[in-house]
Amino acid sequence: MSDGRQLYQEVIMDHNKKPRNYGVLADANRRAEGHNPLCGDHISLSLRLDDDLIREIAFQGETCAICKASASMMTANVKGKTVADAETLIQEFRDMATGKLDTLTQPHHLGRLNVFAGVRELPTRVKCAVLPWHTLHAAFHETASATTESGDF
C-alpha cells in the first residue's frame, strides 16, 4: 500500500469521523483563522492559554479529511503543552511535511503525528496538512489569520 493511501486509511478512519476537540471555546483568550484560498478551505482555532500553558484548544472548519485529521491530532497533541513545546512541534511538523525532516533517521518529538509523513507522497496536499499548524502559530503570535499562500509557509 502506498504511503498516501495508508495516510488516508489510518487518519481518516479515526479522526475524520470522530475529530477531537471539535468546536469553539467560549472562554478562549486566543483565536486565529486559517485559509487555503486555493481550495476555499477554512479552519478556526480557539485556545485558552494560562501563562505559557495551552490549557484548552478547539478547532472548527470546513475542510478536507487531511486538514481535519491534522487539526484533530494537533489539538490532541498540544493540549497541556507549553507554547514553546508546541512551537517545536509546529516547526517539526512543517519540516516533516515538506521533506526537510526525515522522521525515520532524524530525532523529533512528533510521535504518532509521524503518520503525516505520508503526505509528502501527495505534494498537492501538503498545504492541507500544514494549515492547522500554521493557524496555531498565528494564534500564538496574535495575528488574526493565516493563509497557505503566505511567504513563510
Binding site: R5, G40, D41, C64, A65, I66, C128
Partner: protein, 417 residues
C-alpha cells in the same frame, strides 16, 4: 456498466482506439496504473502530429516574424499568418485580420476590457455577465467597473445551472453597454443559448463578448452565425500548446478600439511626439508573438478538423450520457449542473467526502480529475458547496475510462465508509 448501455456504433462514430494511439501521453502510466485523463476542461493533451509540428518549426523554420528580409523570417511569417488563416476558417470569421493571437482566453478578455471597455465604458454604465462565469470573465470587468464607476448586472440561473432568459431580458436598460457570456460553463457544463442571447443584446444595442474556452474544443463554432462581437478561446484546451489563444473581434470594433499593449510590431511609425498604430490585427499584437505556439495551434486545428467537430461533439455527447447514467446510480452522489444542453463535464460531490479527498484518492487509482472551485466561486456559492469534483471528457476518452471512474468513486467511498 454493461455493454448493453453502450450506444450502437454508427459509420460516423469515432475510432477512439486509433485516435488514442495518436497521443503519446495517453499511453503512460500514473502510480503504476494506466492513466485515465478526465481533466480536459482544464487542459487537453497533444497528439504526436501536433507535437511534431512544433519540433519541425524549431528545427527548420524559426526566425522572428514581420521583420527581416531573409528566408527564414519569410517562412516563419508565412506559417504564422497561415495559422491565423486556419483559425479564421475554423470559427468562420469573415477575414483573417479579425483574428488576434493572444496568450489565452484570459488574455483575450483582458484585451477587450482594455481596448473596448476603457475606451467606451463610462461612469454609470452597466455590464451584464452571467452567474456561471469563470473568474476570468468576471474579474477584468470588475476592475473596469471600479476604474470607471460602472456596475455589473448578473443573469441568474436555475437549480439545473441554466440561465434565466426572462431575467436576462429584464436586466437591459439605457445604461447597458456590454454583455460578456460563457458559451459553455467550465464548472457545470451548461451550454448557453448564446445565439439568442446575442440577438437580445443587439436589440438593446449592446455588443457581446463570448468566452469560448470550453466550447471551441468541443463543437463547431461559427462566429458569423452567432453574430458575436468578440469570441475568445485557448489553444491548450484544444490539443494545442499553452501560451497561445485567440481573440476574434468584428473588424469594425477592432478598428475603433485602443491598443492593449504598446511595443514593437503594433506600430506603423514612432517618434517621441507621436506613434501611429499598425492596422488590425497587428495593432493588438505588441512584441514578438508566440510564433511556434501559434503555428502549432494551427496544426491542432488541422487535427481536430480532420476528425470533424460534429463527430467530436457526437462522441462526447454519448460519452456524457453514459457517464451521467452511471454516476446517477452511485449512492451519495450529487450532480452539480444538470442542464438540458450540456457539454461533457460532470461536476459532482460525494456525501461526507471533501472533493479534494476524492481527487487525491482517484489520482492514486491513476484517474486525473479536477477538484476545487474551478475558478468559478460564484457558481459554487449558488449551489452551496465549497468545491466539486469534476470529470471532463474529450473525444479520446472511452467508455472503459468512464467505468474506471465509477469503480474509483466506489473505492473512495469505501475508504470513507
Amino acid at each position: 456498466m454493461t455493454s448493453a448501455l453502450l450506444p450502437k456504433q454508427t459509420a460516423a462514430a469515432l475510432d477512439v482506439d486509433n485516435i488514442r494511439a495518436d497521443f503519446p501521453i495517453l499511453q503512460r502510466r500514473v502510480h503504476d496504473l494506466p492513466l485515465v485523463y478526465l481533466d480536459n476542461a482544464a487542459s487537453s493533451q497533444m497528439p504526436q502530429a501536433v507535437i511534431e509540428r512544433w519540433v519541425h518549426y524549431q528545427q527548420n523554420e524559426h526566425a522572428n516574424v514581420h521583420r527581416a528580409v531573409h528566408a527564414l523570417s519569410e517562412i516563419a511569417t508565412r506559417e504564422y499568418e497561415g495559422a491565423r488563416d486556419k483559425v479564421a476558417r475554423f470559427i468562420h470569421a469573415r477575414e483573417s485580420r479579425e483574428i488576434i493571437f493572444t496568450r489565452g482566453t484570459t488574455d483575450g478578455i483582458n484585451l477587450v476590457m482594455h481596448g473596448f471597455g476603457r475606451a467606451f465604458i463610462q461612469q454609470g454604465d452597466e455590464i451584464i455577465l452571467s452567474a456561471i462565469e469563470h473568474h476570468s470573465n468576471i474579474v477584468p470587468w470588475q476592475m473596469l467597473c471600479e476604474e470607471k464607476g460602472a456596475r455589473l448586472r448578473i443573469i441568474p440561473m436555475n437549480d439545473a445551472g441554466e440561465l434565466l432568459l426572462d431575467e436576462y431580458e429584464k436586466l437591459f436598460n439605457t445604461h447597458t453597454k456590454f454583455v460578456a457570456l460563457a458559451h459553455v460553463s467550465n464548472a457545470l457544463g451548461t451550454v448557453n443559448p448564446v445565439r439568442e442571447m446575442i440577438r437580445t443584446a443587439h436589440q438593446h444595442g449592446s455588443p457581446v463578448l463570448i468566452d469560448g474556452a470550453q466550447a471551441a474544443p468541443h463543437m463547431a463554432v461559427d462566429v458569423q452565425e452567432l453574430d458575436c462581437d468578440f469570441y475568445a478561446f485557448s489553444g491548450h484546451k484544444m490539443c494545442g500548446p499553452t501560451g497561445i489563444g485567440v481573440l476574434y473581434g468584428k473588424a469594425e470594433w477592432l478598428e475603433k478600439m485602443q491598443p492593449y499593449q504598446g511595443g514593437g510590431d503594433m506600430i506603423l511609425s514612432v517618434t517621441f511626439e507621436k506613434t501611429t498604430y499598425n492596422a488590425i490585427p497587428y495593432k493588438f499584437e505588441a512584441g514578438t508573438p508566440p510564433i511556434a505556439a501559434a503555428i502549432t495551434l494551427g496544426a491542432a486545428i488541422d487535427y481536430l478538423s480532420n476528425i470533424g467537430m460534429e463527430r467530436i461533439a457526437q462522441h462526447e455527447k454519448t460519452l456524457l450520457n453514459y457517464a451521467t447514467t452511471q454516476l446517477r446510480q452511485v449512492k451519495g452522489v450529487r450532480l452539480i449542473g444538470t442542464a438540458q444542453e450540456k457539454a461533457a463535464v460532470l461536476s459532482f460531490t460525494l456525501d461526507g467526502i471533501h472533493p479534494h479527498d476524492v481527487g487525491t484518492l482517484l489520482d492514486l487509482e491513476g484517474i486525473a480529475i479536477r477538484a476545487g472551485h474551478h475558478c468559478a466561486q460564484p457558481v459554487m456559492q449558488r449551489f452551496g458547496v465549497p468545491a466539486t469534483a469534476r470529470a471532463s471528457f474529450a473525444f479520446y476518452n472511452t467508455y472503459t475510462e468512464v467505468d474506471a471512474l465509477i469503480v474509483g468513486i466506489h473505492k473512495v467511498q469505501k475508504v470513507f465508509a
